[in-house]
Amino acid sequence: MLSRTVILAIVVIVILAVGIGAAVVLLRPAPAASITLWYNSTGHYGDTEPAVAQLIKAQIEATGKVTVNLQSEDWASYRADFAKGNLPFFLLGWYPDYFDTDDYVSPFYSTAGAQSEGAFYTNATMDKWITNETASVDPTVRGAYFQQLQTQSAKDVPYIPLWTTNAHVVYDSDITGVFLHPVVFKYFIMNKPGFDHITVGTTDSPTSFDPALAYDYFSTNIINQVFDTLLVYEPTNGTLLPGLAAQVPTVGNGISADGKTYTFQLRPGLTFTDGSSLNATTVKRAIQRVISLNLQGSAEFLLEQVAALGKTPTIDTPNCPGPCTTIVFHLLQPVGLFNQIMAFSVAAPVPWWYNQTGAQQDVVNGNVKVTGDGPYSLTSLTSNQQYVLQKNTNYYNPGLYSAFGIPTIPILSKIIINRYSDSSSLKLAIQTHQINMAYRTLNPTDLTALQGSAASLNLKVDIGTSPQIRFLVFNVKTAPFNDVRVRQAIAYAVDRSSIVSNVFHGFAVTLYSMVPPGFFGPDYSSPVFQTAYGSSPDVAKATSLFSAASLAISLSMFQTDALERNWL
């Protein structure tokens, strides 16, 4: 019977398929040495991260010497994990805290800074250069130090700079006052005619709103709306203005001649939104709190080391009790950028009742316990969902920007920030006008599409250069990355231009030094990685370096296997 033959044929095919399938599964070749690259999976850097990670994986694997496993986790865990040294090799980004080239050097190459970046890099010479560089205000002197620092960084490779992103914001075209400020994205100068509030969407999620702990873009940016610092920035650039302080200290007027004493005069009658007083002792107590808590992953080192306040800062409050408006900082050595640091969120005063033994919880028994003195207060906080900023009607300085054509701040009475789980949800929300503004982070494809349809959708798409840099971090204490040859091999292997074109469609710029070119004042940037490793990947060099370091890699293999549970 013919049908029998057909049946038989089908049965044979099916059995063969099953057998071959099983063989394919079971007989896959075991990988050679393997390393793990970590990336954030929950949209802190937008949803381009998996693509970047895969691209880097492919580039490293092109050497044929190692396989790269990809691992991801949510931002809060990621943040905590790398600070604790749990991530050996990972993707990270950096947004400046203050307006100085030092902010691209100290946080990375100083021993304390490298710790909070999860690199655990330490080099006494680098530390010394940094100290010298911060002490000086002479561009030539600083330039020389920055050059040495960058050159050394390309040799030691604790980080591999990859690219700088473009900042972007998409918003209703009738919203005014939107500016991609390099440090603080200021909601309090925005206006939407006929509206008293706007809703903003983001894919980012905060870690904490305690200035003593927060050290990521979203958290510090909210802190900057809710807390004022002694000094604040102009609306559109990095020039400092008096904030809580009545004026910006200058040499002779607040700064001692040796550059080691800074005196600030607080405005009189300041209070926090809950009515508790804000005076010189409050400021002193807040700064001491940050340093004594020294929370893991926080920006504490900016105060302790960069600002040279030391472990036990000497801070005088000469007219307390009494008006209690004068505060004097005694630095261990001269610091040229102390004013800048006093404008960063870590230096924001907090009420006396803030937890002195640990980070202040944002919500206690359902009540928001984030209390500041800024133009807005955080009145409602639904974890991972919605954050509502409400106008602080008693704001002490509504005329802060009157000289810039903004008579009073804040303008809008409410800013409602909604969190979206991914960039496509965020894009949908702005596209369908569910929200008035999408700020951080839309993916490049969507951005291009939105640019194209902005006019018909009544949206504006602002794209600006961003001071944010993106880079790879090695935990230099962990095998195999404790071997500098492995780090150098990877520096040879990475292909920046393919990341920029393939992932970011040109919405990014290749970066060859942790100091990005052309941002602040004198340009100290030097493309040291281009000089050392070339502008396109050199697979041959990478391969030979990997081979040279192979012993280390096989050791690490052993370690990884011991850590990973192997099922079946």
Binding site: E73, Q386, T432
Partner: protein, 346 residues
């Protein structure tokens, strides 16, 4: 025979019968969550040396104890509703049950909406097919029935989003409510079900907004589920239409209309109620995917967030609450079934 009394007795007996099922399910979950991975915390941390001190977490959760000690503790925790506090960064320190109860209404709302869509579409198409056997409508509906249930629910969600939210602007693309609480203040939190709360508040506008947001997720999940109803209703209807009692009714000269409704449809729909319980399992699984597609802040999203932040107590709590809901629903379905089907109570 007194009906009320027996229904009550039946309800009680069903509740008692549900206990072993719940116990078995909890035991299975105990195995999956604690015994199979050996050490769930380390398994979650999978190779990373964690932020959290694994040993301390294990001690805190009692996971370092042998299973025969863990098991009774686990059960007592479940039955006292004490699932511990969150270890994840987002809900750090908050009681697990409290967080879950905040998210539960969203999932219940979505599930109800989806079940409604599934029942309406499924029963409708099933009736069309069943009463026109082997004619073109039947063939179309049968193809629909065998295609729709294998369409990935997340893919369908994306397509509906693309067409109805982005393209036609008929419905909002995601979330449970307008993100702007100033123009669109959400209904006051009474039950957590936005639609019900709107009604309780007497605000039709809020109800409309809630329903608009509910529409696409419910449609997505409901359509995928409807295939099963289509096929069951069709098969049952074919059975009842050709049944002896329908023939007998016809022989008695009963009006065709009554025969179709009282005899064929009602009898065809009863088994549908019976299988409804099992459909909820598929429904909740689909709801996890749908919640993700539509940024719907329910239990599914909570579970995924907890997995992301490796929040073991929250993962465990969420999964157990799912199990309890499933068992509770099966009891409710049985009681409903007892109410509408006179044969069941014996």
């Amino acid at each position: 025979m007194p009906k009320q009394g027996s229904l009550l007795a039946y309800t009680v007996s069903r509740l008692i019968l549900a206990l072993p099922t719940l116990l078995v399910l909890l035991t299975v979950l105990f195995l999956v969550l604690r015994i199979l991975p050996g050490d769930p915390i380390s398994a979650l941390e999978a190779g990373r040396r964690s932020t959290r001190d694994i040993a301390a977490d294990k001690a805190r959760l009692g996971l370092n104890l042998p299973w025969w000690v863990q098991y009774p503790v686990y059960l007592s925790q479940v039955f006292s509703g004490n699932f511990g506090t969150s270890l994840g960064q987002i809900y750090l320190g908050q009681p697990v049950l409290q967080v879950i109860l905040q998210k539960l209404p969203a999932t219940i709302e979505l599930a109800t909406g989806a079940m409604l869509v599934a029942t309406l579409v499924g029963v409708g198409t099933g009736i069309i097919a069943g009463s026109r056997r082997d004619r073109p409508p039947d063939i179309v509906v049968r193809l629909y029935g065998s295609i729709i249930w294998v369409i990935p629910v997340f893919w369908l969600g994306l397509m509906l989003q693309l067409v109805f939210a982005v393209g036609l602007h008929w419905f909002p693309p995601n979330l449970r409510y307008e993100p702007d609480p100033v123009f669109f203040p959400p209904p006051s939190h009474l039950t957590g079900l936005y639609t019900l709360d709107s009604l309780l508040e007497g605000r039709i506008d809020k109800l409309a907004i809630s329903l608009a947001h509910l529409a696409l997720p419910s449609l997505t999940l409901g359509l995928v589920l409807s295939g099963f109803f289509t096929r069951t209703v069709r098969a049952n209807l074919l059975r009842t239409i050709n049944s002896d009692y329908v023939e007998a009714a016809r022989a008695r000269g009963i009006r065709e209309r009554y025969i179709v409704y009282r005899y064929a449809f009602r009898n065809a729909l009863i088994p549908v109620v019976t299988i409804l319980g099992l459909q909820f399992a598929i429904l909740f699984a689909g709801a996890v995917l749908t919640e993700r597609t539509f940024s719907w802040d329910g239990m599914g999203t909570l579970l995924l967030t907890s997995i992301d932040s490796r929040d073991y107590p929250m993962i465990q709590g969420t999964v157990i609450v799912y199990a309890i809901i499933i068992v509770a629903i099966s009891v409710v379905i049985d009681v409903i079934n007892g109410f509408i089907d006179p044969r069941v109570r014996y």
